[in-house]
């Protein structure tokens, strides 16, 4: 049970469920593989034939047009057939169970499931179910589960950092915002640690931090100005609408004043610091437009790199 559930007996990646527990070698191999895929997008024909004849099912139990699109583009650039399924969770709750849905789609000769689900652990449950029913040849890629993990986002963020900063082992990285509810933050923190980033900071008000956050190997800052001092990379997190007013935060205005990334606050970071955001951004709430569109921002390159990273992940899984 303690074996990392995404690896097979030979230690090869079979599914991508979380970045936790993956070795530096595996993470680096994915990033290395993504490099040549980045070039494919610049060709006349933006496609390679690796996944010809394979069926990739985008299984989205939680809506996200943007994430689904990036996976769809990645799969199509690998020549796979892509089937998009948006499964409304409320109708799923009334009728078919999650595993019934999976069984049905598996019977349609799926080769890969890209899964987005509101519950932490759902992609793992699917992978485990496929293994238990003798269908472990079907690969599972986690496209975001609850608050647990968003491994391809974490990987594309690492790709971006490596692209601009080369060496992870000299960096100070700050993750800013709603860590409590963020699967992105968890994946980022695991990957940053594994890749040897010596100082990972987390900046947020106490209401947006999980109880055990310090155990994840990060330095916690409540004061953003303190936390941004001398950092090389600022990774902003998205603040969901429903969290902006209520018991977690009093108002978007107050949040922006104390935790929004403005040019003034960014000046506390290193002069060559880069600013990242997983999108979609809430301008004027977690990030000032002047920063989002400014010289330090690498938010759009993140999106481009994201396609290459997802192509690398899919081709590494499907061919093993």
């Amino acid at each position: 049970m303690k074996r990392n559930p995404q690896l097979n007996a030979h230690g090869e990646l079979q599914h991508l469920i979380t970045l936790e527990g993956l070795s530096r070698e595996i993470l680096s191999a994915i990033l290395d593989t993504a490099e040549p895929f980045a070039e494919v997008a610049e060709r006349e024909v933006k496609k390679v034939p690796l996944l010809r004849g394979k069926s990739v099912f985008n299984l989205f139990f939680e809506n996200s047009t943007r994430t689904r699109t990036t996976f769809e583009i990645a799969a199509k650039r690998l020549s796979a057939d892509v089937i998009n399924l948006n499964i409304n969770t409320s109708s799923a709750a009334k009728g078919e169970s999650l595993l019934d849905t999976v069984d049905n789609l598996a019977a349609m000769q799926a080769d890969m499931f890209v899964v987005r689900h509101a519950s932490s652990g759902a992609p793992y449950l699917i992978a485990q179910h496929l293994a238990a029913t003798g269908r472990s040849h079907i690969r599972v890629v986690n496209a975001g589960d609850g608050r647990h993990a968003h491994p391809t986002q974490g990987l594309l963020d690492m790709y971006t950092i490596r692209h601009y900063k080369k060496d992870f082992t000299r960096l100070t990285v700050a993750v800013v915002g709603d860590v409590l509810h963020s699967r992105v933050a968890r994946s980022q923190i695991h990957a940053l640690r594994t890749l040897g980033v010596p100082e990972i900071r987390v900046i947020a008000p106490r209401t947006l931090l999980p109880a055990g956050v310090a155990d994840m190997g990060v330095r916690v800052f409540q004061d953003m100005k303190e936390g941004l001092k001398g950092v090389d990379v600022v990774m902003m997190l998205r603040l969901q609408n429903e969290r902006m007013q209520g018991a977690l935060l009093p108002s978007p205005q107050e949040y922006f004043k104390y935790y929004g990334l403005t040019p003034e606050k960014l000046r506390l970071a290193k002069p060559d610091a880069i600013v990242m955001h997983p999108g979609p951004m809430n301008r004027g709430i977690e990030i000032d437009s002047a920063v989002a569109d400014g010289a330090h921002s690498v938010i759009l390159p993140q999106v481009t790199f994201g396609i290459a990273v997802r192509m690398a992940v899919m081709s590494m899984l499907a061919g093993s």
């Binding site: 932490s120 759902a122 449950l125 608050r147 055990g212 155990d215 994840m216």
Partner: protein
């Protein structure tokens, strides 16, 4: 029917017996426990006793049948999950001869007719004695009181809310006052519903890492403070069910020291598992209250040993596969427990190096005292509810071996748990309710 249980080692914590002895049963009652002299002779039968049946308990422990403070039988309302027949067979196979069932049936046990039907259905010689805990409020909604006196006449031994809280503290106080009027005890779980809202796991490192919504320990301690203050104010006999934290144990000990009449129990799974056992979202490690930290687990183990926690229960909760095969936060909490109570009690005792008599007291005499029933003893004249078990025989928990309809347990099919203690036979009022090999 006269039964002679010979050559066994009798442990009867209620009467301080822990020696080789024979047990004599007639007309469903204990008529003698004798023997254990230095010569190692068998016991001498009471005058005129001629056995119709003899049980050879060589190499086995003979103890009072176990008393379980919480076993969900799923009747009425959830018969697809379990039936009285399946769960009673499981109880007997687990050596349990008396059990209390919480009121969270469908409909809840909030009117005398339902309770009478349940106790009537359960009245069969091979069935364990069933002691319903009546609902404290109608439909467990926490708004209106139930007819407690009527329910008591129908067979309820206490009143509670299962895992459903009473939000309105005024209603809670009045329910306690009303119960105190009749001398009924009130059984409640201490968990603040607001702090536990949406939570599915202990609020700590594991839940942070797995991205599971947390239930902090203060959810327990705050609710405990409320319940303990109300108990002092109303003078009701309060029993706190399923304590989960080290801080909770300390608060209860302090309340006791200040003279509040309070008892508490812990679920057997919480003695052996902690939040780390969630592993990769194992839905079988989802419990209510949640499995807490290793430190809390160790405090529970020590608290039960010292008597700070009065009793140990199975918290038997059969859940069908469909309700467990779901993402962790959608899976139903709870585990099947009737057939695991004894082996898990023995495992705890062995790991804590406790005298067997102390350990068995927590599942026999102590819970019987909380229930206010004359069970959990081998005293002459008491009902012949007896469990005979082999302390060292390995006990494997498999889907096919479990008699309970609930196959949901984190201990399923795992030899490395090294569970020991196999029930050889269970007698209920002298009736052979379970025969696990010989007679």
């Amino acid at each position: 029917m006269k039964i002679h249980i010979k050559n066994g080692h009798v442990i009867d914590p209620a009467n301080g017996i822990d020696r080789a002895a024979d047990v004599f049963i007639a007309k469903g009652k204990i008529v003698g426990v004798t023997g254990g002299n230095p010569r190692g002779d068998g016991g001498t039968a009471p005058a005129g006793f001629e056995a119709n049946a003899t049980i050879d308990a060589t190499g086995c422990i003979v103890c009072p049948g176990l008393v379980d403070l919480s076993a969900r039988l799923r009747e009425p309302g959830f018969e697809y999950r379990a039936t009285l027949e399946s769960e009673m067979a499981a109880a007997a196979a687990g050596g349990i001869t008396s059990l209390a069932c919480p009121p969270d049936t469908d409909p809840p046990l909030d009117e005398p007719g339902l309770v009478e039907m349940l106790t009537h259905r359960a009245r069969r010689p091979e069935f364990s004695h069933v002691y319903p805990v009546g609902a404290l409020t109608l439909k467990l909604e926490g708004k209106r009181l139930t007819e407690m006196a009527e329910l008591a006449e129908a067979g309820c031994v206490a009143f509670g809310q299962a895992n459903t809280p009473v939000l309105d503290t005024q209603v809670l106080m009045r329910a306690m006052q009303y119960a105190a009027t009749f001398g009924f005890s009130v059984w409640l779980q201490a968990q603040d519903p607001y702090l536990a809202k949406n939570g599915v796991a202990h609020d700590g490192e594991i839940s942070a890492r797995l991205g599971l919504a947390g239930i902090p320990v203060v959810a327990e301690t705050i609710a405990l403070a409320t319940l303990l203050h109300l108990a002092r104010e109303t003078g009701v006999r309060l029993h706190l069910t399923r304590i989960s934290s080290a801080d909770g144990i300390e608060m209860i000990a302090a309340a006791r020291a200040s003279g509040i009449a309070v008892t508490c129990d812990v679920a057997v799974h919480h003695l052996h598992l902690c939040d780390q056992d969630i592993g990769f979202f194992n839905p079988h490690a989802r419990f209510d209250p949640p499995l807490r930290s290793l430190r809390d687990r160790d405090a529970l183990r020590a608290g039960l040993a010292s008597g700070a926690i009065d009793a140990l229960c199975s918290d038997h909760t059969p859940v069908d596969d469909d309700a467990k095969q779901a993402p962790f936060d959608e899976a139903e909490p709870g585990a099947t427990g009737l057939e695991l109570l004894l082996p898990l009690t023995l495992k705890w005792a062995a790991e804590m190096k406790l005298p067997l008599a102390t350990a068995l007291a927590r599942v026999t005499a102590d819970p019987a005292r909380i229930l206010g029933i004359g069970a959990g003893t081998l005293a002459v004249g008491s009902a012949a509810d007896v469990c005979v078990f082999d302390l060292r025989a390995p006990c494997r928990i498999g889907r096919e071996t479990l008699k309970s309809q609930g196959k949901n347990t984190p201990f399923l099919g795992q030899d490395h748990h090294d569970l020991r203690g196999r029930v050889r036979c269970t007698l209920i009022e002298g009736h052979l309710a379970y025969d696990g090999a010989f007679v």
